[in-house]
Structure formats: C-alpha cells, structure tokens
Amino acid sequence: MSLNKESIQAEIKAKVIDIAAQTGDDASELGLDEIIPATGLIDSTGLLELIAWYEKTYQIPLTQEEINIDNLGTLARMAEFVLRKKGLL
C-alpha cells in the first residue's frame, strides 16, 4: 500500500463509489474537497461502512471524538488524517 496523499484519496474515492452504488447512486464525480455527508451520495449506514473500512485499511483505530467533519469530512481531509496519524505529515 502506497501512503501518499493522492493514492489514499484515490482508494477512498473508490470505496465511496462502491458504497454509493449499493443504493443506486453514482459517486464518480465526487470532488476531493466536497463534504461527503452533504452530497447525499452515501447515507449514515454507508458512512459507517466507509469509516470501518478506513480504520481497517489504514490501521488507525479512531475515537468517536475524531470522527468529525474537520478530520474526515472530505476525501482530502481523510487522506491527510491518515498521514497525520502515521506521523507522515
């Protein structure tokens, strides 16, 4: 797994597209700085699946306090948060 911001963003976007497809939505146009919950592309259950996948994939157990818009609201913020937690940013 390559831990640079671009590759992490791409991986997360692919997962968002996969989750959105479960309810018939197309997230292929999702921008890096769009607030994911505000797009309506994935619902709360989908967000839970995304966060569970994110924790497991990047091996970063999250506290409830860390799960907020500032840290995880967009693809770019999610990628940056991985790098910050790993001490790479």
């Binding site: 839970l48 569970a52 996948w53 924790e55 907020n68």
Partner: protein, 369 residues
C-alpha cells in the same frame, strides 16, 4: 487457584463458535484485559480477553475447532507450575467448573430454579441474573431439565421440484431462531402513525452542526428519544416469561444495522445511564464495530427494546420481527412529501395498541425542552 477463560458468545443466536487462534502460549504470564485469542462466527470475529492476571496453564479448545459457547477455552493459574484441576468433562454442562464467575444474585436464582451454572450461556464470561433469565425465557420460563419443552412435531418436506439443499450459515440459523421466538412466544401486532418529518430533520441538522458530527444523527437521536420514552413507560421495556410480565431494569437499546450481507442488532446497554450526546456517541461506536463485523459480546445480545430503519432502501413501510424477549421494535421508514410513517411491531401479551400509539406519538417529534 486455577481459573478459566470461557468461550464467549458472539451473538445471541450462535451457540457454537470457531476458535481462530491463540495469541498466548503455555507458561506465558498474562494480564487482565490482554487478548488471548480470537473466536469467530461466519460474519464476526471477537477478541477473547483475560478477565484476570495469571499464567497460561493449558488449552482445552484448539485452534480451528468449533466449540460450544460457555465451554472452557483455557486455564490460568497463579503460578506457572500450578496443576490444572481435574474436571471430568471440560465443556458446558459439567458441575463445578464455573462457580467463580457466577454472581451472588445469580446463584440464588439458579438454586430457585434447580439449575446449574454450566447450562447457562454466560454474558461477557459471567453468569448473571440476566443470563439466567434469558435462558429461562428461551425455555418458556421453566427449567428445561425438569420440564422439557415439547418436541416440534411438524416436519417440513422437500418441495417436489428439482433443486439443491444448502446448509444455513450461522447467521441464517440465528435469524431463523429469532423468527421462531417471534412465532412461538410473542403475539405480534403492528401499528403505525403518520407524522411530520420537519421537526426531527431540523433538530438533527442543528445537533449535527453544533457538534460538528460527520454522521447524520437523526436515527441515533430518535433512538435516544425512544430510550427516554421507555423510562416514562416501563411496560415498553418488558417481556412475558411464563405467566408473568418481566420489566427490565436497564434499557438496552437494540439498533439494526446491515453490514454487507449480515444483519446485526447492535446493542447499547444501560442506555438510560447516559445523556443524549453520550448516547449518540456510544451508539456510533457500537454501530461502527458492527459495520466492521467486530461487535463485542455484550453488544450483540441483551436488547430489551429495538429500533429499526429501512430508510436507506427507500422503503416506506416495514414490519420488523421482534428480537427475542422484547415487546417493542420501532420501525422507521423513508418519508414522502414531508410526511413519514412511524410504525412498531409489538408483543400483544405485553402491550396494547393504545399504549403503542401513545409511544409512537411521543417519538414522532423531538422532546420539547
């Protein structure tokens, strides 16, 4: 004195689990809370933790072995050289092997019902009053050792059409067991009301913005409101065992979550003991673990009241099955044109339609502060 770590229950309906691996070896010194191994069902893996400090004396279960919930997984001792006590059969059902993990109140209840602790599937490794009551409820409120439940007399037959028989997964068996409780014990009814979606939507949006939450909190907030209502109307938080109503002391809120092919009832125990924000956070943690197929033992069983939503599937009405030993399961669904339908399955032995409507009306809008 040697103590044991028992095979834990992953969910309410699986009486067997597979031992995946051990993370410790014979002679290792371990601390309370340390992970000693993992067990799994088809969809969930659970870390097994030591409940006390000690040295690993020996294993009873083996990796890759399918074992009974509540059987002995491994022995711990106060010293490396301690001898494992002789127990004729180290699985569930043998006397004397679980005494230290039975609470005092549970011991009284066991004696009252002429039961031995080893027949009771433990909760988080302990035989508690709750564990015994659940066991009794599954037996129709009587001691199955002295009053056996009548055997099922009907036998299903294969359809007269060509096909292939498939084994049920553990999860499918669990669902079948839940549905069977609903059929055999509850007297189910269903009621729904129409309500205005706007007050809840506005309240949830404001709450999300104020707290900076990533997850839309609408459903957790509605579930919290249900916890409040249950405290005002204890009959909602009850079941019938034998010919008596049993009102639960804690409010253990079960919340359905679909994770891949698995449908979990994730449980927030003692929900009455936290405030609104605390509940939203706690439920978020539990649901996240369910989404990762990693629910803790105590989070996968013990619901006393339920909340279910099929909004994500745009379903406008659904009639949930009652989780075992509950009397109320709220059914939230997708709205249309600013109006929504809020329904509930209920056990008519415990609740009447008027009581359920009263509860749903309270739930149809946020609490007015």
């Amino acid at each position: 004195m040697a103590t044991v770590i028992y095979v834990p229950r992953i969910n309410n309906n699986d009486d067997e689990v597979k031992v995946l691996a051990f993370d410790v070896s014979i002679g290792d010194k371990i601390k309370a809370g340390q992970i000693v191994g993992q067990v799994e069902t088809d969809k969930a893996v659970l870390d097994v933790m030591a409940s006390s400090d000690g040295y690993v004396l020996g294993f009873v279960a083996q990796a890759e072995e399918v074992v009974r919930v509540g059987s002995i997984m491994l022995w711990l001792g106060e010293s490396k050289d301690e001898v494992v006590p002789e127990v004729q059969n180290l699985t569930t059902g043998q006397a004397g092997s679980r005494t230290s993990l039975v609470t005092a109140k549970a011991r009284i209840l066991l004696e009252k019902n002429s039961l031995h602790a080893d027949v009771i599937p433990p909760i988080d490794g302990r035989v508690t009053v709750e564990a015994i009551e659940r066991y009794l409820a599954t037996k129709g409120g009587v001691n199955a050792e002295t009053k056996p439940v009548l055997a099922q007399s009907s036998v299903d037959v294969l359809p007269d059409v060509e096909g292939t028989q498939m084994n049920l997964t553990r999860e499918e068996k669990g669902m079948a067991a839940t549905v069977t409780w609903h059929r055999d014990f509850a007297v189910p009814g269903y009621i729904e009301i129409d309500y205005d979606l706007a007050p809840w939507a506005e309240y949830a949006k404001r709450f999300q913005d104020e707290k900076g939450l990533l997850m839309p909190p609408l459903l957790p907030l509605m579930a919290w409101r249900l916890v409040e209502i249950v405290q005002e109307m204890p009959r909602l938080n009850a079941t019938v065992v034998g010919n008596k109503r049993f009102e639960y002391t804690p409010v253990n809120l079960g919340f359905t979550i679909q994770a891949g092919d698995a449908l979990y009832l994730a449980v927030v125990r003692n929900a009455q003991g936290v405030d609104e924000f605390g509940f939203v956070n706690t439920l978020g943690d539990v649901l996240r673990r369910a989404a990762g197929h990693n629910l803790r033992e105590s989070e996968a069983s013990g619901a006393t009241v339920g909340f279910s939503s099929m909004e994500r599937w745009k379903v406008t009405r659904h009639i949930p099955i009652l989780p075992p030993h509950t009397a109320l399961m709220v059914a939230h669904a997708a709205g249309q044109g600013g109006r929504g339908v809020l329904g509930a399955s209920y056990d008519h032995r415990v609740l009447n339609g008027g009581q359920v409507v009263a509860a749903l009306k309270k739930l149809s809008s946020p609490k007015k502060n």
